[in-house]
Symmetry: D2
Subunit: 349 residues, 4 copies
């Protein structure tokens, strides 16, 4: 695709913080670039990649009208940038995050490299950490849980999409010390598999399918457990049963959470607990009927719904997000807004 007519028709800011996206050829990096390109206050100055070099991002992703050319990451050309979004695979991200920090840039890292506070936990799931000395500089980037620390952070470890939906659904219960046991059954559209071309993503195989994956072994589990423990220090050893499924849509993710509570919880108490928890959150909508993911598609919203099951005594809580948006790239922009003292909703409504 080459737009003869519209090149340059998009708005972008001059004079605002200068930002790059490193790893812009994957789904989440490309979306981050799209959101920053059309953002009224950031100036997207470069998009880098290890493939598709020399092509315009708008040609690789015709949906996103970002006319910048994909270039290799050359640090010496990036002096003076204020911020970076790093969209690299796990383990590959940490060295680049470190190098960009040495340049003085503040970094939102979309990988798992800085999400876990515990180095032993990281090593158990991912192997050796490339830059363990940076762990202390990183803040976990689930905006609603760590807003103040994110504002000042050098490195923001943007959460995984599954932890985002799960933790927003569970946080009020965790803060109240109510979670004795939890099963999280998550369903996600195929964009969650990323720009990967195999049987997982082929429409003829994925299109009329429902597939569980990574059974009994999902790397997002420790991230969720660590954050829940932070919210509820009285239950530091809670083991989360987490299971992911791919379902045939593009963008969208539902975390269905089944909580055995530490004490009975009445419907009215539950309602008030969730309403209070998110009363001032611009992007968390507590709803009173079960939400569908279509309602949050291509937005930074998370819709949350919780109900008490009288039959079993359990609490069922749902978190619905767009996995690429609030689950990843628009939450990165939400965090960048905070880091640069912009209104949190800027460029996201």
């Amino acid at each position: 695709m080459s737009c003869v007519a519209s090149a340059g028709a998009q708005q972008h800011a001059d004079g605002g913080p200068r930002v790059i996206v490193a790893g812009a050829t994957g789904f989440t990096g490309a979306l981050a670039a799209h959101l920053l390109w059309r953002h009224p206050d950031f100036e997207l100055v470069a998009v880098t990649g290890r493939s598709e070099l020399g092509r315009r991002l708008a040609d690789v992703y015709p949906r996103y009208r970002v006319p910048l050319t994909i270039e290799p990451l050359e640090l010496e050309r990036l002096h003076g940038i204020d911020a970076a979004v790093v969209a690299y695979p796990h383990a590959a991200a940490a060295p680049t995050v470190g190098a960009l920090r040495d340049l003085g840039a503040r970094v939102v890292d979309l990988s798992a490299d800085f999400r876990l506070g515990s180095l032993p936990t990281y090593e158990r799931w991912y192997g050796e950490h490339p830059r363990p000395e940076l762990l202390g500089d990183a803040v976990y980037g689930l905006t609603e849980l760590h807003r103040e620390r994110i504002a000042d952070a050098a490195i923001v470890a943007n959460p995984g999409c599954y932890p985002t939906a799960s933790l927003l659904a569970l946080a009020p219960l965790a803060r109240a010390g109510l979670i004795a046991d939890v099963v999280i059954d998550a369903k996600q559209g195929i964009s969650g598999a990323g720009r990967v071309f195999d049987e997982t993503t082929h429409l003829s195989i994925a299109g009329e399918n429902i597939v569980p994956y990574k059974v009994a072994a999902h790397r997002h589990t420790p991230e969720i457990e660590e954050q829940l423990a932070g919210l509820d220090p009285a239950h530091p050893d809670l083991r989360v049963q987490f299971q992911a499924h791919l379902v045939p849509l593009d963008e969208g993710e539902m975390a269905s959470c089944y909580v055995t509570t530490t004490r009975p919880v009445a419907a009215e108490e539950l309602r008030a607990m969730y309403a209070d928890a998110y009363a001032r959150e611009p992007f968390v909508e507590v709803v009173d009927t079960p939400p569908g993911v279509l309602e949050v598609r291509e937005t930074n919203y998370c819709r949350v719904f919780a109900a008490a099951d009288e039959h079993t005594g359990k609490v069922v809580a749902f978190g619905a997000i767009d996995n690429l948006w609030k689950g990843t790239s628009s939450q990165a922009v939400q965090n960048l807004n905070l880091m640069f003292a912009l209104p949190e909703t800027r460029g996201l409504l």
Copy 2:
């Protein structure tokens, strides 16, 4: 649609058991008619309905080449039939099942009216039962659990699709007395909503969506609980946490079951338990990687997979079926095969 060229091109049996489908205008009734029309041993002699009267079923469902005309159910014209599939809504089914039985027909009922052995449980979920005196004549029609009794039954209460997938996934654990607690998270394609035209089924609303429904209140719960109690008499009061979701495909259903076990279960024990349980079942396939529902689409197969989660100690078990086929209509044919002493797989491979 009116086939100028091919009317009558389909095969059907003369001389075999004569069967009707009552309520053939819904998705499950129409599929049952399709399967019986092409069945080598049954003779489908009538399809009835309360709407679309006078139209050929092949015109209402152009996918199914059943040239019979939809007629009202007039019992006096049905003398001499051997069997009936009744595809009516709950509560509406029981009187017709009774009337057909009075004619001497053996009945497979697709509704919930005869699934529960306990009348009080029925009344709690569905209200007054129209024909409680018939409950004792009915056998629960999950073929793999009640094969012998089905063969002799006057009335077979065909299971719900959710109980079918859930119970086949859980039966080996239940028989071994291993289920201390269970969460079932089920996902189903839109055909599960039936021939209902509303926001639930509109492609523009359902198509890129994931929607939980009947939160904390699903009528399939007692059916599952009663059957599990039958398999594991030591735990008669198990409360099942069941939650259904609609996902954007046509046919297909996945029951993901999270079991807290009464004692630790090792991977090898689990593997052997499932292999043994289904070693001689023609339609249950125990697989060693997580199945996708596409693998069973438009078949009578159920694929089952179970794994022990070392992190939590729970067992995760999956049952994948086609909700309209093994979940409903082809299981009805499987049962009819048994009831008329035909090979169980006849017309279904």
Copy 3:
């Protein structure tokens, strides 16, 4: 859905032109309301409907966070409004358009009632016209063809989605007098059927389907023919072969146009013709590879591509739009921007 937390979180303008959407419960009316609610310069003051009265639009359409309550259209309460979008069915629209005009409002009408300049042509396809005396006040609202007249119009007859895609694909050829004969084969997502609940829109029927409809009898034909005649007065009697198909996606429309030309056209001439035609259009993107409709989903863009077929001598031209956006509701906003002297792209990028 009732947003406990976020009600009122959306921005909207006070002091700008006051606008209503009449008929906001259909797909196109609801989207127009959504776009106007979040528009920085218009103030959406009311949404009306004949169903769903008393419900918030945000509850009927959970995707669109418009908190206004749906009310009946009561003209006496609408004094002082500056503009209205009317999203009524054909024939039902004209009287309301007239009444709103009597109030002094400028109207964008989404129906076909004012699209045809010729009353006899209207009557041949739609029957008697309810307000023929208003035809002279209406301007055909394909922005790129009639920008100047739209800016001053009392009534803008917003084009059909099929004419929008077709005419933008064909206009450069028509202006050059090159169209001797044309076949238009159009494909559209299911949202084009609107908030209609029947077999056409049920995911289990529409979901894995491709269905031609209104064969040899589509009402959009005269609208296309009249506009082409306007562009190419030398061929006033061109008969357009137009055929629509529904394909299984939500939003998106492709018009594939096959043109027998009045003289041979070389590839380079064709390329220059299209580039020149749309060089200054903010919302028409001439591309040099075949576009997909995903590239314009939920945007006001139209992507256009044309090629000369050396084998047949014909020209093949494609127009890709989102049928609900540029095809209907965002084009209505584009026109409103013009009518109120706002930048044409306001609220649409």
Copy 4:
């Protein structure tokens, strides 16, 4: 997938013609193997491939319960086979077809290598032909057009899916000498792209998309033209305007054909012409409302509908097939049935 329980549960024939599928790892080869494995009269003795060697076909394609192991094609091990289906890419097929013929096997070739009778035409579109001396032994395998010659053929060149749908829609008109000009606009599900993993088939890109491809340059054009010329010798130089599009479903294909006729054709004449043409065809259904491809999914049927457009004078004709079934693999079985004097519908109803 490894079926612990059901291996060997499928039926297959011993004693019938022994057949192999060469190239069974692609979509069409795998489906051919599935159809032949469950066929009551053929004995599928081997499946070969150049990838996935040593894996069971049932593990590569969990939908198809074919337990044979994929092996390299070693001719010396294939003595005594009676037939082969060759599912290789164009140009790669011809040498293997020749070698299998030297073994005495009768071959159905799914590639384009033997579809064109004219060597110059082949070379213009595909380059040098690997085995031109075999062209004379091959019969074009559109069953309904060449049934008698197929029965005796050494090599059957199975048609492309687009020519199958297009020619069945157009044949009655061509035989009557009525086609003066024709535009064919074809839409196909993503399975038409085959087991190819790239942007074309990724659900997140293909899933909500409509994409024209190979604009003004589709290789199926000469195949259609040559066959139409055979049906209508009076118009040997007809140039067909053919355009393909990918739409977001798995299997299904619609050819929409717009015919400028050599003389006016009345509706009743048209109806009779199509009814007569296909009155005795078991797999062509002439219908009187526009068909949807869902009606023929996973069948060998083609549904055909034609209408005269009074407005333009053109005839519009539609052919709906499943591109993998009647478009390719089940038509191959239909041809094999003929070649081995079996009832044409065997294994296909």
